[in-house]
């Protein structure tokens, strides 16, 4: 029925199955949007945040999602700047993921602030010294860039490209993509970094505060590296996931492997820097503010295990896995490593957001706890649902994996060449 929209020669499930799949996520989205609506209309009293726990699930979600979205800029880097053409096989998918992550994050931010209608004040009276300003500006710009990068993919839809204007426009856009990608890389570098800086600059929060280089605390660079590290992993994971769900070969396995390898190297570097940073923090930064680092971990819920998990279990281990050829080329291990790596970064973002706020700063203060309200969780789910929906539509009607056609006649190619 919608076959005229599906790219020629790509097999997709029936419209009925597709609709059922979509229906589930639409319902989830609807539920989530209701929660978000409450937060917008009734105010943030709908959440379980408070004057002491000013950030919660949402900011954690934003940080994580944006780190995952880094795949878009990093694949762009590999493809357009380092000219690793094999990655053109995943760039479209990476762009869609990026778009989803960033638009999702921005949407949640808009709900998270008390007066969304005033959000544009940040552009009107920007405080260039604030990391948040940097974040806001970069993310907004990068979202635009991603939208532009998504346009050609969209316009190349079988039906749309029959309109000459679209056909030609996407063709021309394609030519300027390298430059846009370069800008995207620039922006990503800064906002991934300033997201880290967000906490690193908080001298009033000795648990998060870090010394740095120039105006940027060390977390700035750690966030950039960590994002770059899991960007490829996340692209790899999504690709595997999609091909499992759609039961299709989408890219040549070598590409997934090299994504894993790159991820591994950067993750290794991250673990190294993170360890150095932690040592400096424990031995110099924190004590200099008269905060003994051991106070931070005397809550059994937030014990030193968290540090171990963050650096070793979900950092070093997946890095080594990804760097061992044998494991990497076994899909099971590859995926496990990818999941561990992503988990590690998520944990890092969690610690930066939640633990920072949970720990007391005032000497006569107590350890705080926070559990998100259903409205917060709902809004969180809305973003997930939105992501799945947008990706599913894109996957069905657009060419996200150019190699898919080839791979579905891979066997034949060999066969043919034999007969020649």
């Amino acid at each position: 029925m919608d076959s005229k929209l599906i790219p020629r020669g790509l097999e997709r499930t029936t419209l009925r199955n597709f609709s059922l799949w979509m229906l589930f996520w639409v319902i989830l989205l609807g539920f989530g949007l209701y929660g978000a609506y409450l937060c917008l209309v009734e105010g943030l009293n709908q959440t379980n945040m408070d004057n002491r726990f000013v950030f919660g699930l949402w900011i954690f979600l934003d940080l994580t999602v944006i780190a995952f979205g880094a795949g878009a800029f990093f694949t762009g880097l590999l493809l357009y700047v380092l000219k690793r053409h094999e990655f053109s096989a995943v760039i479209n998918s990476a762009v869609v993921i990026g778009l989803i992550c960033y638009s999702g994050a921005v949407a949640v931010l808009a709900i998270d602030v008390g007066q969304p209608l005033r959000a544009w004040f940040t552009f009107w009276h920007p405080n260039a010294h604030s990391m948040l300003t940097e974040v806001t500006f970069c993310i907004t710009c990068y979202l635009v860039v991603l939208a532009i990068e998504y346009t050609p993919i969209l316009l190349k839809n079988r039906k749309l490209k029959e309109i000459p204007t679209f056909l030609v426009f996407q063709h021309e856009l394609h030519k300027v993509l390298p430059i846009l990608a370069a800008i995207g890389i620039f922006l990503s570098f800064f906002h991934q970094g300033s997201l880290g800086g967000l906490y690193g600059v908080l001298k009033g929060r000795p648990f998060a505060f870090r010394e740095g280089f120039g105006i940027w605390p060390s977390t700035f660079f750690l966030f950039v590296i960590s994002a770059a590290a899991i960007g490829p992993s996340f692209v790899m994971l999504t690709t595997v996931l999609v091909s499992k769900i759609s039961r299709k070969k989408l890219v040549k396995p070598e590409i997934l492997h090299s994504l894993g390898r790159i991820s591994g190297w950067i993750l290794m570097a991250y673990v190294l820097f993170k360890s150095i940073d932690t040592l400096v923090w424990i031995n110099r930064t924190s004590p200099s503010l008269l905060f003994s680092p051991y106070e931070y971990y005397n809550q059994e819920s937030f014990g030193t295990w968290i540090l171990f998990a963050e650096i070793v279990l979900l950092g070093l281990v997946p890095a080594l896995m990804l760097l061992t050829k044998k494991l990497r080329e076994h899909q099971g291990w590859l995926v496990t490593a990818g999941i561990l790596a992503c988990g590690g970064i998520a944990l890092n973002r969690f610690v930066m957001t939640i633990q920072t706020l949970a720990l007391p700063t005032l000497p006569f203060d107590a350890f705080l706890s926070y559990v998100p309200s259903w409205q917060e969780v709902a809004t969180f789910l809305a973003v997930v649902a939105y992501g799945v929906l947008l990706y599913s539509v894109s996957f069905r009607y657009l060419t996200l994996f150019p190699q898919e056609r080839d791979l579905n006649s891979l066997a034949r190619e060999r066969h043919v060449s034999v007969r020649l």
């Binding site: 076959s3 710009c141 490209k161 063709h171 150019p402 060449s417």
Partner: protein, 278 residues
């Protein structure tokens, strides 16, 4: 935000920061405008057909893009990167020369290959059209047997009006067969001067853009024979029916309509793949 507007801070950080921001915005805007302007230019300059062909060629699976010399066996596994425009291919002259030299002159051409009529006076195009150059310099264009069988007995063919121009690898005309419509790629550049009638084998008479018409990219009967085998092979793989392959391979008479061979396949997809229209 803007200098001299209320509450603008003149410190270095702000200036650097906003400077960077505005330049980023500028570059992005510039890129988009550039793209739009060039698109407008292209739209006016009638580059649409070329662009369509090039973009589409990118999306074709590797087998469909196999180099003619890899089909003829002279350059194994070579894939065309020049969208079948042999004229512009730097390898073409060498390969052609090599082939001329090594080809067995005495090999007689079986014009009935796998039950397809191949005419020696026709030049074949990878999009399953043929071109015949007449004495008067005009050319006749038609669909080859393979295409006819792909499209089935009663395809409805929509030809362009007399006087319209064809572009190389542009859409010559469209054929509708069943639910699916395919664009048939024009094997040459020129102006349509006559439309063939139903009893004739050809579909249109074209006055080539330049005399003599450039035919480098077309296959003569000899190349065509290997090519047809190759195409059969591709077809089998697509409709996934080894059985058919067998019967055809030993020269049995193929069915009149391929679509009858394997009901239930994504026939629209198959057509697209075979007729180079995705």
């Amino acid at each position: 935000m803007f200098p001299f507007v209320y509450d603008f801070r003149w410190d270095t950080t702000s200036l650097v920061f906003l400077g960077t921001f505005f330049s980023v915005v500028a570059v992005v805007a510039l890129m988009v405008t550039a793209a739009s302007l060039r698109s407008l230019k292209n739209l006016r300059g009638r580059k649409i057909e070329a662009i369509r062909w090039h973009d589409m060629f990118e999306d074709l699976p590797a087998p469909a893009r196999a180099c003619r010399f890899s089909i003829s066996g002279s350059a194994r596994g070579r894939v065309c990167h020049n969208s079948f425009e042999c004229g512009g291919c730097q390898m073409f002259p060498h390969l052609r020369a090599w082939e001329q030299h090594h080809r067995d002159q005495h090999e007689e051409v079986d014009i009935r290959s796998l039950g397809f009529n191949l005419h020696d006076d026709r030049l074949y195009h990878r999009g399953h059209t043929w071109v015949r150059q007449e004495e008067d310099g005009t050319c006749l264009i038609g669909l080859d047997d393979f295409a006819k069988r792909l499209l089935g007995p009663t395809p409805s063919i929509h030809l362009p009006p007399v006087g319209s121009t064809l572009e190389l690898h542009g859409v010559a005309f469209t054929v509708q067969s069943g639910i699916s419509t395919v664009r048939v790629i024009s094997p040459m550049e020129g102006e349509v001067i006559e439309i063939g009638s139903s009893e004739q084998d050809w579909l249109m008479r074209v006055r080539p853009a330049e005399e003599p018409a450039d035919t480098k990219h077309l296959l003569d009967g000899r190349d065509a024979r290997r090519w047809i085998e190759f195409e059969m092979e591709r077809l089998h793989q697509l409709i996934e029916n080894p059985g058919v392959g067998a019967t055809l391979a030993d020269g049995g008479t193929p069915v009149e309509d391929f679509s009858e061979m394997r009901p239930g396949t994504d026939w629209d997809g198959v057509l697209g793949m075979m007729m180079l229209d995705v």
